[in-house]
């Protein structure tokens, strides 16, 4: 029977006392992320992110479907986040609890609605066929900060994924298998990342990348999503104690430098994986793209 395990009054009081004295329980700085580990699978589009003990796996898959009536020139992109007891005994399969709803809503706004993935490039024949790109987020371990970890995993897997190449002859479409023609990268307009802030003591203490215990003791949370150019995709503050406007602006500034750090990390890992696959330098030979 899942029950949210509440921290004891001792642990809660101790955490707040420690924060007032300026230390976090794992001795990090208030604005330091836990060590981030990003690895890719053998298949294209599988990214495994671990932020300390939190671990999230994102997988992208593509299918050719009939395009929707009201968006003839666009493909379809859906994100599925189903939390299961694998992440934590507090979650139940099938029951959508608050954490899951917030996670899916924030990822929706950050990645889908901001146009991070160019859906027009997924269209094959307008009004008839298009690609349905489906992103599945699997939370493997929950130790706080699921939003940030899921966003990193999602963006990394979108950058890593290759969709099948296709050719259109009049009304006919031939979708090539990955063995016939090298699959093609997705076209991403920009790469947004989420940065979550947990605050205490009326907004005077802000923590980045909270662990599970810190999340359970905090007064509220602000999630800022932006890309490395400083374009803010969304700011979310679902309830919690009030915070003044200046603190919000400080959060956004701090989020920008963290997003730049995350962006560099993800791009570097994607490139390293690319070089690992392209060990003999044969990718240039196999690609059907022309140099202009």
């Amino acid at each position: 029977m899942p029950r949210e395990s509440e921290p004891s009054t001792n642990a809660r009081a101790f955490l707040l006392q420690a924060l007032r004295e300026g230390t976090r329980l794992d001795r990090r700085d208030f604005d330091a992320f836990r060590p981030i580990n990003l690895t890719f699978g053998d298949e294209y589009g599988v990214a495994d992110v671990s932020l300390g003990k939190t671990r999230v796996l994102a997988k992208i898959s593509a299918k050719v479907v009939k395009s929707s009536e009201d968006r003839k020139f666009d493909g379809i992109f859906t994100i599925s986040t189903e939390l299961s007891p694998l992440a934590s005994p507090a979650f139940e399969v099938g029951r959508q609890d608050q954490t899951e709803m917030l996670l899916s809503r924030i990822l929706e706004k950050t990645i889908r609605r901001s146009g991070a993935l160019d859906t027009e490039s997924l269209c094959i024949i307008a009004g008839q066929k298009c690609f349905h790109i489906r992103a599945d987020i699997h939370v493997l371990d929950h130790d706080g900060n699921l939003v940030d970890a899921s966003c990193i995993a999602l963006v990394a897997s979108l950058l890593h994924f290759r969709r099948p190449d296709f050719e259109v002859h009049g009304e006919e479409v031939h979708v090539f298998d990955s063995r016939e023609r090298e699959p093609v990268r997705l076209s991403m307009q920009h790469q947004p990342f989420c940065v979550s802030f947990g605050y205490y003591e009326g907004g005077t203490i802000m923590l980045l990348d909270s662990t599970l215990l810190e999340e359970q003791c905090r007064e509220g949370e602000i999630v800022v999503s932006m890309n490395r150019f400083g374009d803010v995709c969304q700011i979310a503050k679902y309830g919690g104690a009030p915070v003044d406007g200046l603190s919000m602006i400080n959060c956004t500034m701090k989020a920008l430098e963290k997003v730049r750090m995350l962006d560099q990390l993800v791009k570097r890992k994607v490139e390293e994986d690319e070089q690992r696959r392209d060990a003999g330098g044969l990718m240039a030979e196999l690609s059907a793209e022309n140099d202009r």
């Binding site: 029950r3 395990s5 004891s8 009054t9 001792n10 006392q17 005994p89």
Partner: protein, 241 residues
């Protein structure tokens, strides 16, 4: 650690068993089950330990969930109270354990401790069976004395594996862990070890408590030898002061 790790359900071969004592019996400890007439099988993951003098053998459990057994000292967290007992959790997401409201030293209807949801107590398991509820108490019902059990105020808790908590309780010689004794030579603190994998530490300052907690957790995860422990203790004491 040269003994092999045994999986649950492995029968123990006769060559590994110690010699039976004078009355011809063999004592089985936790983690082993006897199916008559001759088979002894493991019930959990661990390494086999034998005590030839007492003709006893048992399984040192490596990790995993804590299973309550009678006479274990545990740290329980109060979840809610009802008319005559508190419902506590020994491990998260498991059925509640019951703590009688009067099971404290010197408690009567008028002078019992008022515990709220979220408080911690140091208690002893007095009843734990397969079908029944687990019951804990904060006093030794034979002598009526508290013996250090009761509510824990202040400080904070750290999670470790139940096997490591047992080694900590055994001390330097039997358990092979000298962290608490080593730190205790230079630093003043209070500690309570629960067999359910919870350690409560309280000292005057946040730095010391966090330092001790991290030391214990890192040793549990890292599996340090005595030399590595001594080095880590020296480093931690320098950090803390």
């Amino acid at each position: 650690m040269s003994t092999p790790i045994l999986l649950p359900g492995t029968p123990i071969s006769a060559s590994l068993l110690p010699r039976p004592n004078k009355s011809g019996t063999l004592t089985l400890g936790p983690g082993l089950r006897h199916t008559p007439p001759q088979t002894i099988t493991t019930t959990t993951l661990g390494t086999l330990s034998t005590e030839p003098r007492k003709s006893a053998l048992w399984l040192e459990d490596l990790a995993g969930r804590y299973a309550p057994s009678v006479n274990d000292l545990v740290i329980a967290q109060i979840h809610h109270s009802s008319t005559d007992s508190y419902s506590c959790t020994l491990t998260p997401h498991t059925p509640f354990a019951l703590l009688g409201q009067l099971s404290f030293e010197g408690a009567s209807k008028k002078t019992r401790p008022q515990l709220k949801s979220g408080d911690l107590v140091y208690a002893r398991v007095c009843q734990a069976g397969k079908g029944e509820d687990v019951e804990i108490e904060c006093l030794n019902s034979a002598t009526g004395k508290g013996e250090g059990m009761g509510p824990l105020k202040g400080g904070t808790t750290f999670d470790v594996s139940p096997g490591f908590a047992r080694r900590l309780m055994l001390g330097r010689k039997k358990g092979g862990v000298m962290l608490l004794e080593g730190v205790g030579e230079k630093v003043k603190f209070e500690v309570a070890i629960g067999r359910n994998g919870v350690i409560w530490v309280d000292s005057g300052s946040v730095r010391i408590t966090v330092g001790i907690g991290r030391l214990v957790q890192d040793c549990d995860r890292g599996g340090w030898t005595l030399e590595e422990q001594e080095k880590a203790v020296k480093k931690a004491i320098k950090d803390m002061s």
